[in-house]
């Protein structure tokens, strides 16, 4: 699947395109098929996202979305060396998902 990501213009937070809006949770990301360029141009122009781009991803067995490259998995979770600053601070094993 092809999903879209970028950073919130004001806060810099990592965000994922949900089909209607941007979410900080990668599992909210939707497959945009061949519409990536159109959506990104529109959203950048509306300043709803910054430095956005399309990436390959896949659905895992639990229905979650797993970006294809480790860099985007780290973006999706947070720094593996600071579990307390990730989106899953209560899960010390969350970093394993990245690798």
């Amino acid at each position: 699947m092809k999903i879209l990501t970028g950073n919130d213009l004001k806060t810099g937070e990592v965000t994922w395109w949900t089909g209607q809006d941007w979410s900080i949770h990668v599992n909210d990301a939707v497959d945009v098929g061949d519409q990536a360029d159109t959506i990104l141009a529109r959203e950048e122009a509306a300043r709803r996202v910054n430095s956005s781009y399309a990436i390959d991803a896949e659905r895992d067995a639990d229905g979650g979305v797993r970006p294809g490259h480790i860099k985007d998995r780290i973006r999706a979770l947070g720094p593996t060396v600071r579990p307390d600053l990730t989106l899953k601070p209560a899960d010390p094993e969350a970093g394993n998902w990245v690798i």
Binding site: L9, K10, G12, N50, I70, P79, T80, L85
Partner: protein
């Protein structure tokens, strides 16, 4: 240390308001990201993996306690409670909001700090010896010259759009603690045969994807021509440095392609021309700057006695303190490398504490080192035990300076958008391995440096042991290098062979150290043994 005059303050204040307006225009859509990006970068604001990242300049690594407190306040108020001290003697914050940035810059300006020229193709923060003004082995204090260069290079209209970024280091001792020959310009203040003080210029060094050791371009430039000669070096680069390929745009490529002799010839020609224009700042300005770097009021007759009956303190003294030029004083190094910690990171509380301790015990001065540690440069030996106890209670008393645990590591793929692999977890595992096997002390001085990509922010080329993280078909892979050095005997490490995964590289490092321990001769460091026996014994052990 240097104090802003009214011109300095006015320039920085004006820049804050300029950036406030630029940020407003970016947020309201008047400025596109394409137009805004170079503006934010010139103010130190990057967009990294998780958020905006702000890099704050610490000129030649020198800070006072008021500045350090503000750095802690920023970590608390605008970030997530910590900061990261970098290999360029700066500090970075990883979780900054664009909308907060003008206020952060305003807070910095109140204590004579800024983030100007910490990014972009301009002259970056001038770096220097972290022990300047304190160490017994320096000719003179290099910081007034670093400050003069800072003032010359700040907002220099000709050098704000260079072919590529430009880094200058200034030292004044034979011992190079600033990786001087791995800078675009490395300046060593020297004394000539006539006993006059001047500057030796090394030009065209650097790390990155094409590491080079700077050749000596001129042995002696009179100090009253320092800026003029620097201007000549930059002018030739600005004129002929490549702008068609960013990977070949650094001055090291120009010097290499022209040849050091031809580059020097062109610089000398430009220098002769510039001398006729009389661009050197007046001596009075240098004297004004020098006055800010006068020695603090050391206590005459301070005792050199130390009670070393506490073994933990004794170990810290042995590893983390260095001789001071003033009897009864010492240079105290605060390691930001606790085993299992993140190299260079300090919490807001720790930063506040270091500021307080500097105020109480070090004449209000701190230094940031390129090895990502903090220095209290002027500590009375009589205060040292109390100081260490306070550091230790806050997790800042680790005794591992210049050991295999004192690892330089870039932020790597955990934070950096350029990185290909994570650096920090590798540093943590290596430090833990050697803390567990008890070999840290036995190994002695061993400088290990890790970069998460070829840009080499972690100085892997210059590590006695270097590690480079690469992307191998979407997975992290780590190459091992041996034999690098950034000291007086600067050398570039060589790759041992095929790379390793995260656990494999830790094993490989341990195997390399076992070769050293088995083969070392009396008084040899790891680097010395490597240079004597060569790569083969290490390769045989590592790939067996």
């Amino acid at each position: 240390m240097y104090k802003y005059d009214s011109y300095d303050q006015a320039m920085v204040d004006a820049r804050v308001e300029e950036f406030r307006d630029q940020t407003r225009r970016r947020l309201d859509g008047t400025l596109s990201e394409e137009k805004f990006r170079p503006l934010r970068l010139q103010n130190g604001l990057y967009l990294q993996l998780h958020a905006y990242m702000l890099r704050v300049a610490v000129p030649y690594g020198t800070l006072n306690s008021a500045q350090m407190h503000v750095l802690a306040d920023i970590a608390d108020k605008y970030d997530r409670g910590y900061g990261h001290f970098t290999t360029r003697q700066n500090i970075q914050y990883n979780w900054i909001k664009l909308e907060d940035t003008p206020d952060i810059l305003a807070d910095l300006a109140k204590v004579e700090m800024h983030a100007i020229q910490t990014s972009g193709n301009c002259i970056r923060n001038i770096s220097s010896d972290q022990f300047a003004g304190a160490t017994a082995d320096e000719l003179i204090d290099p910081r007034p010259y670093a400050e003069l260069l800072r003032q010359w290079s700040s907002f220099h209209p000709e050098f704000l759009t260079l072919p590529r970024k430009f880094k200058i280091a200034v030292i004044a001792s034979q011992t190079d603690r600033a990786a001087m020959k791995l800078h675009d310009i490395g300046i060593r203040i020297v004394k000539n045969a006539e006993g006059e003080i001047g500057a030796a210029f090394y030009v065209g060094g650097g790390m990155g994807r094409t590491p080079m050791i700077a050749p000596l371009i001129r042995e002696f430039v009179p100090l009253d021509q320092l800026i003029t000669y620097s201007e000549a070096c930059l002018r030739v680069y600005n004129r002929y440095g490549r702008r068609d390929n960013k990977y070949k745009a650094r001055i090291k490529i120009l010097v290499h392609e022209l040849g050091a002799d031809e580059y020097k010839r062109q610089v000398e020609e430009e220098f002769a021309h510039l001398l006729t224009l009389n661009i050197e700042p007046p001596i009075a300005e240098l004297e004004r700057i020098k006055a800010h770097f006068a020695d603090p009021a050391f206590e005459a007759g301070a005792s050199d006695a130390l009670d070393l009956s506490d073994p933990d303190f004794a170990l810290w003294v042995e590893r983390n303190t260095l001789p001071h030029k003033q009897a009864g004083y010492t240079i105290a190094n605060i390691s930001l490398k606790p085993v299992g910690g993140i190299p260079g990171d300090a919490s807001a509380g720790q930063i506040h504490l270091m500021a307080e301790l500097a105020k109480t015990y070090s004449f209000d001065e701190l230094r940031v080192t390129h090895a990502q540690n903090i220095v209290l440069p002027h500590v009375r030996k009589a205060d040292l035990y109390t100081l260490w106890q306070k550091l230790d209670a806050a997790g800042l008393g680790t005794a591992n300076l210049d050991t295999i645990e004192d690892i330089i590591a870039c932020p790597g793929l955990d934070y950096c958008s350029l990185a290909n692999a994570r650096s920090i977890p590798v540093a943590q595992k290596i430090a833990q391995r050697f803390a567990d096997n008890g070999q840290t002390g036995t190994l002695g001085e061993l400088k290990l440096k890790i970069s998460g990509c070829i840009n080499a922010c972690g100085h892997h080329h210059a590590g006695h042991i270097g590690i480079l993280g690469v992307d191998k078909k979407g997975t992290e892979n780590y190459q091992l290098l041996l034999g690098g050095s950034e000291g007086d005997d600067t050398s570039l490490g060589k790759i041992t062979g095929p790379g390793f995964d995260e656990d494999g590289i830790v094993d490989a490092v341990e195997k390399a150290t076992k070769v050293y321990l088995a083969q070392k001769q009396e008084g040899e460091r790891f680097l010395d043994t490597y240079r004597r026996i060569g790569m083969d014994p290490f390769k045989e052990a590592i790939y067996a």
